[in-house]
Symmetry: C2
């Protein structure tokens, strides 16, 4: 998950309830509809229960993290592509890879020290823990040395003006709102702080700064930096830990602080990578597509368990469950493992380019890219008229507390955004994200952060919604 | 805190209650004793209340962490010595520095990668996050490469035998018992796991291993390594994060794993450093000494806030409060900022050597070296007959929940151990340590981990106990 700002904004919202005008008009559904509906509910319940005792997704996720970090353009990302394709073929799906040209961004040395500061012991420096942001403009191998100024907002930076900023390293020390995150508004807290990660370097550059640092966007206190995407500027862009942001701010309040920093990232030539497309052909409407998906690439610091190996793994399991249980979708269920969600979204752009003419036959698309916490239901960018049709999904997911459907105005996932904009009904699994931003984009995004039981719940949510969308008598209205 | 195993072992123990035989025999204390006792209680309450609204300790701690890590032999450690001495002189104390020859251990490069493992992508390696332990025998600059074997206990290693261990890197993957830590038995959990940090390298070396790694001893999951002391062996000794221990163990279960590692620590020549000794002369028995203390050195990864800048800061505040409130101790209150608790204990050994003949006049010694969490009272290695005399302390600290006195058999602090062994009554503040080992010996031991209100409570506990020991009509029986 890259710059998705609104996810989990309203996870506390009540379960939506609906009246059912069509059924109300006719008194009750026809006998055929009734039988078909009862069968669907029964099949969905079978999928749910099977998911809750299935370790397929966890085993897939373990393998993806065993491969290691899967940053775009890396050998690990391509090994993961081949692996997912092979696993889907094993299940009997129709698999092909679709080319995506991706950047190959390589992290280099990243070190920093305070070389002058109040309280400095003679002959000593003090280490600063930081990481380069995607989009970083590298320093030379020798690095740069400059005074540090601290801004707590874009406005504060503007008020300093070029006179105070030019030639300096700017540190944006903007707090992640831990209270909001604890109260289920992690997405909102993230959105507020990530604006500085995204736009800080450009704002600092505009006033003549020589480098830009942000306080890491996240809510843990273990001195780990959080990387992520930054709009490209012509000055270096990094993230320091919250502890280091505090230290620098304390010292700057007391006197002059000068920092030496080295951020030698390297942008290699573009690399050919792939989206993995695996179709479980529909028995009645093979031309109609329902997508279940997550993104396969990760940042390079961790091994991409919660962001977003988990999303890929639960999408894979949706197909595994249907094949194992012989529950054949009437429409085509398409598993997609997206490439390059994190570093520019080239995977979803390539898919949109290649498939835009078929979007009218794309009945719906689901992406899971908000971690692997307990799923509370779905965020959905759909026509409200479609809600009554989803009642069977809500009923079947109610026992595991995954029955919310929360309508939102923007795409519930980065990779399904082109489809959302083209009017395709889109869904994102809405996980409990209270601890998601503790680990997001850090070295600590590793397998142990995923609770097997919660991953199974996510697989249940993905399989149940995916199968329902593929087998509802009528496609969702747009 | 280095290898203190029993601290917080029994923090759940009930408040001890006592009968008071002396008072019971005489019906009630004499009028003079009564007045003196009432005055002492009143003075102790004054100290407690002043501590609870005093930010002196926090400001001192902030400065110590602003200096940076204070590992033995570093310029920062010596700057801290000079700083504490100057601050104590400002208060009017009689200050001198006592020489301590300390090792100057310098962390070098510390990197590791898996170079062969199941799930490896062609042309890729996987980063392992680790840190060198104190006592590490360095690798060459080029490092070493060897297969990894995993042992979950010393017994398991022995059972593997030389045949399976020789030429390999041994990983001791021994879990820190998080359940125990959550239930107030953090010290016990630490004790169980730290045996491998302390003795793992020697055990691995004995079977011909080329290096020894331990799972970090701590209970957080943010992929941060915990350093600490290891008995010197002739093979490299490091600690990997819990996440990396999990990863390696998973991979070793699937097939062959080879690792390349570089741990180029460097042991410089010994450096002259100092214990800071600051006396607030006793008005009636200046020759009798009551010590309030913490250790000034820290590990080099963090800035030593909870281990143990906080201990030094609350000891300093004990003197500050007495001076500011004009509460003059009758015995001499001696503030000590110990050097080299972490890397061999040379500070306390030097003090014992210089002052052993005066230990009969050392009435009591307190050390705080278990973090800065809420104090629940004290661990004490004292004669049980002394308990009734401490009733005023317990009464005055009861309102802040710091009134437990828990008798233990071994020294309640590393630096006061020589005194404890010589029969001097010794005390350690018994903090709530449930999160202490999340941060202990990591880069995340920083100022923000200290809650100002809790630090004030610790200052209250130190000042109240220190003043009581200095002013009780009779010294504690030994």
């Amino acid at each position: 998950m890259r710059l998705q700002l609104t996810l989990a904004l309203s996870v506390i919202s009540a379960t939506l309830t609906y009246s059912y005008p069509a059924m109300a008009q006719s008194g009750q559904p026809s006998g055929t509809e009734n039988a078909s509906s009862a069968q669907l509910r029964s099949d969905l319940a079978t999928l749910r229960d099977a998911a809750l005792s299935d370790d397929y997704a966890y085993q897939q996720l373990a393998h993806l993290t065993n491969i290691g970090p899967r940053s775009t353009g890396s050998p690990q990302a391509e090994a993961a592509v081949e692996y997912v394709a092979a696993e889907m073929r094993k299940l009997g799906l129709d698999v092909h890879l679709e080319e995506v040209k991706v950047p190959h961004w390589i992290r280099g040395e990243e070190t920093a020290q305070l070389v002058e500061y109040p309280a400095q012991a003679p002959g000593s420096t003090q280490k600063i823990v930081l990481t380069a942001l995607g989009g970083n403009h590298p320093t030379s191998a020798e690095g740069i040395t400059a005074e540090v100024v601290v801004a707590r907002s874009f406005d504060e930076l503007k008020n300093m003006g070029r006179e105070k900023v030019a030639g300096k390293i700017v540190l944006f020390n903007v707090l992640f709102d831990q209270q909001k995150a604890a109260n289920g508004l992690a997405g909102a807290a993230y959105g507020e702080a990530v604006a500085y990660r995204g736009g800080g370097a450009k704002a600092a550059e505009a006033l003549g700064a020589v480098a830009s640092l942000v306080r890491s966007v996240g809510n843990a206190d273990y001195r780990i930096p959080h990387t992520g995407f930054s709009e490209a500027a012509n000055i270096p862009a990094g993230a320091v830990t919250s502890e280091d942001a505090d230290l620098i701010s304390r010292l700057v309040a007391e006197g002059k602080v000068r920092m030496h920093m080295v951020l030698t990232t390297h942008a290699g030539p573009e690399v050919v990578s792939h989206n993995v497309i695996a179709d479980l052909k529909g028995s009645e409407h093979p031309e109609q597509i329902v997508i279940v998906s997550g993104h396969l690439d990760s940042w390079d610091l961790g091994t991409g368990a919660i962001d977003d190996g988990a999303g890929v793994a639960v999408a894979m399991e949706a197909a595994e469950l249907m094949q194992r249980l012989h529950l054949h979708p009437q429409r085509t269920l398409r598993v997609i493992a997206w490439m390059d969600e994190e570093n520019g979204g080239r995977g979803n752009k390539a898919y949109a380019k290649a498939h835009a003419v078929e979007f009218s036959q794309h009945v719906a698309a689901i992406e899971s890219d908000n971690g692997a916490g307990h799923p509370m239901g779905f965020q959905a960018k759909i026509n409200a008229q479609a809600l009554p049709l989803l009642q069977p999904v809500q009923e079947v997911l109610q026992p595991i507390g995954a029955n919310l459907i929360h309508l939102i105005e923007r795409s519930p996932g980065t990779d399904i955004e082109p489809m959302a904009e083209a009017g395709v009904p889109t869904f994102g699994i809405m996980q409990d994200a209270r601890t998601y931003f503790n680990y997001h984009h850090t070295a600590a995004d590793t397998l142990d952060k995923v609770v097997p039981r919660e991953l199974r719940e996510n697989a249940a949510a993905m399989a149940v919604m995916g199968y329902a969308l593929a087998n509802l008598p009528q496609a969702l209205p747009r």
